[in-house]
Amino acid sequence: MNVIETKALRYNFGNKSVLNGIDLNVPTGSIFGFLGPNGSGKTTTIRTMLGLARAPEKSITLFGKDIRTHRIEILRNTGSLIEYPALYNHLSGYDNLHILCNLTSTPKKRIEELLSIVSLADDGRKKMGKYSLSMKQRLGIAAALLTDPDLLILDEPTNGLDPAGIRDMRHLIKMLNQEFSKTIFISSHLLYEVEMLCSHLAILNEGKLVFQGKASELSDKFARLLIIDTSDNDKAVGLIAQHYPVQVTGGLLEVVVKEKNDTADVSKILFRNELDIYRLEPKSQNLEELFFNLTANGSAHP
């Protein structure tokens, strides 16, 4: 069953079309990565999902209900963190959560539980001004978890964090999914981050989905590069070029392959021709290259 479904979701800023018919399906229990470059429409999609921006009726359902007609019911079961955490900087972490508890009629005892989950139990009484960005992000997650929702929507939760903060955030997200069975929808512009965390993902480019599926399908489905170094690279280029597109970059071979078997095939070609293989590994593609491949393959995938 899908927790979030969008059907031909469209949104315009004035005359400018930001979302052009997005069909998202976010399965229950998944960590769903929503990937796209800055300005591709990720935050706008999230804002429409949360009812912050007005989407056409019946184009967004969460828990099987239309956000336009069941907003409060849906938000009772949905926590969110949009970009940087919104918190009252003149108050302590505890006070911030206490206010949100009172606004949502949540029992006060939940505050200590949440501070403990996000590892801020000892810092709850500190003013927000003394919090690092990582602590603020974690408190933002605690705020999102206040009503113990089944769904968490996190918009770029690692934005601006240092490596230790990013690691803590990743750990927290995984824990919330595995130990607390939360479905987590997380947007990012960093492919490696999403690959490390997510079971499913969708890629957005210029307001259109160019991929949606399991994370493992992404690498299987689309062209990828192999980096190869052998005892005789000139000879290797000649041999591989008969079967696969190849180019030499920085003294190393870059071979475009499409399927898992292609990697085995390339290694067999080199082995049969008695070339020693020093290195044979997939090159991790950055988002730009991936988009290029996805769009070059004409793979817009609803």
Partner: protein
């Protein structure tokens, strides 16, 4: 059932919690304190000119501030308070957090407005308290003024509340502006121009059409009725502006 009664109270309390450590509370108490102190100093140095022998000095003393407070400082303080209370949300970019809570969008405006009305009430009560306090101090420092007579506490409180009620249109309009505009300056400048403009036009025959003059017009005469036309129009204006605010809040998009 008990929870249904308690929930609105707790939500209102949450709005008050947001005021902790902010200037909004300080201003609501400090401005009346300052004004009452100023009046006290004037009475200390020039009281003999203001006191009429044989007549209870309290009433004159209570009304001594009215023109200055109701005509200028009260509207300006309301303008400042409206900007301060909404800047708590604007400056922390809190709207996106608040509008993703499972609460109705129009109630966001309602409870915020309620906390603003509370601040105005606090200001009225503070003014009464400090006027009384400094009146009793005058009794100590200047016993010859006759402040040992009955202190007209009820009348003093009524005057402050009347000024607050007559300010309802200002309260509604300034709150609406501050809720809508992210900028601290825009509502302040609009309010400032309207207050000063009203002051300049105070002898204009159509002054009745400028609601920023109502606190002053409604309380200028000591024998005026408790509830008058100015208060009626001001309260109705607040109701209309609040309805507009609920509507704007319910349709608000955070993009």
């Amino acid at each position: 059932m008990a929870q249904r009664i308690l929930n609105p109270i707790i939500r209102f309390y949450a709005e008050l919690q947001k005021l902790k450590n902010t200037l909004a509370i300080v201003v609501a108490v400090a401005v009346p304190l300052f004004i009452a102190f100023l009046s006290f100093v004037i009475y200390l140095s020039e009281g003999h000119k203001l006191i009429i022998t044989g007549i209870n000095p309290w009433k004159e003393y209570i009304y001594h501030l009215q023109k200055f407070w109701a005509g200028l400082l009260l509207p300006l303080t309301i303008i400042l308070e409206a900007s301060l209370i909404n800047s708590i949300e604007h400056s922390n970019n809190m709207w996106k957090q608040i509008y993703t809570l499972p609460i109705s969008k129009s109630s966001v405006y309602f409870y915020k407005l309620l906390s603003f009305l509370f601040l105005n009430m606090l200001m009225a009560i503070s003014m009464t308290f400090f006027v009384q306090l400094f009146g009793y101090l005058l009794m100590l420092f200047k016993p010859e003024f006759g402040f040992n007579a009955p202190s007209f506490f009820g009348e003093s409180l009524l005057l402050s509340l009347k000024m607050m009620l007559a300010s309802s249109a200002i309260i509604g309009f300034q709150f609406f502006l501050s809720f809508h505009f992210r900028s601290f300056i825009i509502p302040m400048v609009i309010g400032f121009c309207l207050t000063i403009g009203t002051g300049i036009a105070s002898s204009w025959k159509y002054i009745l059409f400028l609601p920023y003059s109502y606190p002053s017009l409604s309380t200028s005469r000591q024998d005026a009725a408790v509830w008058d036309l100015y208060i009626t129009i001001a309260v109705l204006s607040l109701a209309v502006l609040s309805a507009a605010g609920f509507y704007v809040s319910s349709k608000r998009e955070i993009t």
